[in-house]
Symmetry: C2
């Protein structure tokens, strides 16, 4: 981990540098310590500096975090806003606690929306949505997509959760391979494997731990990217590539826009032999 001084030095080459160049630096001198104000319903923040770094240029600066501590944060944050919030708030919150601005200006509570695949629709796993949002705050466009892609493959092909809290009332929380980035498929698959219903306390604990697992992995990937040592471990599986030969962008059918997936047959379980040559 680098020091706070290193980080502020790094910042001076980014947003603060821009502010100084723009003649806004004077406003910084107006800052002074103050009492606490409510940033969001669940968090009190001490005002120690004028929030001029709210104007930091995009993407925001990232400073390496301890992946295990971030996972622990996510485990405890889950109860205040569930999966998407837990992941996003844990990463941004650790930076906020350590460095203050610009992170303290981010209304992380907005990320509660991702729970149960967004408003109970079971679409994308909220932990992944939160991690993708955090990654995209620190890395722009295609490089961000590369990290998110790696995270999504890891999530979909790894037995999760692989995080265990230091103390727990649960004897065992089974792990399962989701084979998908979707909340519905991930939870239903786990429920069938474990035998626990989806509204059981065990299922909730599974999602709490999964949020911690995803946070840890996201921080590991961000740290690797920061150190310039990130290297993708996953690629599009051969089975998916085979489907995209006929269905992907630029192909004969050209009716599938998605290019990253673990297994098309996860949803397309039965191919009609009357209309699908490969199924004959």
């Amino acid at each position: 981990m680098n020091t706070r001084r290193d980080f502020l030095k790094k910042m001076s080459g980014m947003g603060l540098g821009l502010l100084a160049a723009a003649g806004v630096g004077n406003s910084l001198s107006c800052s002074k310590p103050g009492p606490t104000v409510t940033l969001e319903k669940t968090t009190l923040v001490t005002v120690t500096a004028a929030p001029a770094t709210a104007f930091v240029s995009f993407p925001w600066p990232y400073q390496k975090l301890d992946p295990l501590k971030a996972a622990d944060k996510a485990y405890s944050n889950f109860a205040r806003g569930r999966c998407m919030y837990a992941v996003f708030e844990s990463i941004i919150g650790m930076l906020r606690d350590e460095y203050g601005a610009p992170y303290k200006s981010f209304p992380t509570a907005m990320m509660k929306y991702g729970a149960v695949g967004i408003a109970d629709w079971g679409t994308v796993c909220g932990a992944l949505n939160g991690a993708a949002a955090a990654i995209s705050l620190f890395i722009d466009a295609d490089p961000a997509e590369e990290i998110i892609n790696e995270l999504f493959y890891w999530h979909s092909l790894t037995a999760l959760p692989d995080y265990k809290p230091s103390s727990t009332k649960f004897a065992s929380i089974p792990a399962s391979v989701a084979g998908s980035p979707l909340c519905h498929q991930s939870i239903t698959g786990w429920s069938k494997l474990s035998g626990f219903t989806t509204n059981s306390q065990e299922r909730v604990e599974r999602c709490v731990r999964l949020s911690a697992s995803v946070t840890r992995k996201a921080v590991e990937l961000l740290n690797q990217k920061t150190d310039g040592i990130f290297k993708a471990a996953y690629k599009v599986p051969d089975g998916v590539t085979a489907c995209l030969v006929c269905h992907g962008p630029g192909s004969v059918q050209g009716d599938v826009h998605t290019t990253s997936e673990t297994n098309c047959l996860r949803c397309h379980e039965v191919l009609d032999p009357a209309t699908h040559p490969a199924a004959k």
Copy 2:
């Protein structure tokens, strides 16, 4: 539309009031007009006030917008960051342009991550992800979920896009009913209906217009909520309720956590009569 003065008056009862109570108000007097600085790669913002409202309490204040103007913004913003960014930036950007802080502190460019269902994975429609994020910035928890739920049903059951730009080079962009909030299903369904491949210019134009449609609807819903006249028009379809009798939370199977959906058979096309009683 209310005036800027009305809005600032409203704000004084929220974040600015908190700041004043906390003794941070003095820092506001340090603000002064300044030159432009880079907020994000694509946007220049004039610094006209100290960004003290970055400490506005959550959720952030919403001020009614013109839905048609917001849709036009989304149509033009798409090219700079695609679907999720287009929707989110259009809503936040209109508030930023009109009111400045706290909206100018939000790094909207981070929302580029939602394109093609997040990093090409075809999960949740990026326009929906962006709209849900914006709604959740202004409305907390369950009330936000109610608005998002309405938006998702409208998106999934309405022939879209229903937005047409004032001028266009395209003779016709067909509309389709996605029957799903997922990017992959939405685009593939449209491609099959229209006959255009998913990497055609027509498909891109379809998603640009769909982003505008979703922005318009999201603003309409936010305005209705602001006026206290929001009323949900959609409910869980009978077909989905029938599935949840056995599979939903608290049921015999209890293996499905998702409770909002348009049609379970959209994915579960073939039910095995050997294992599924209803299919016998």
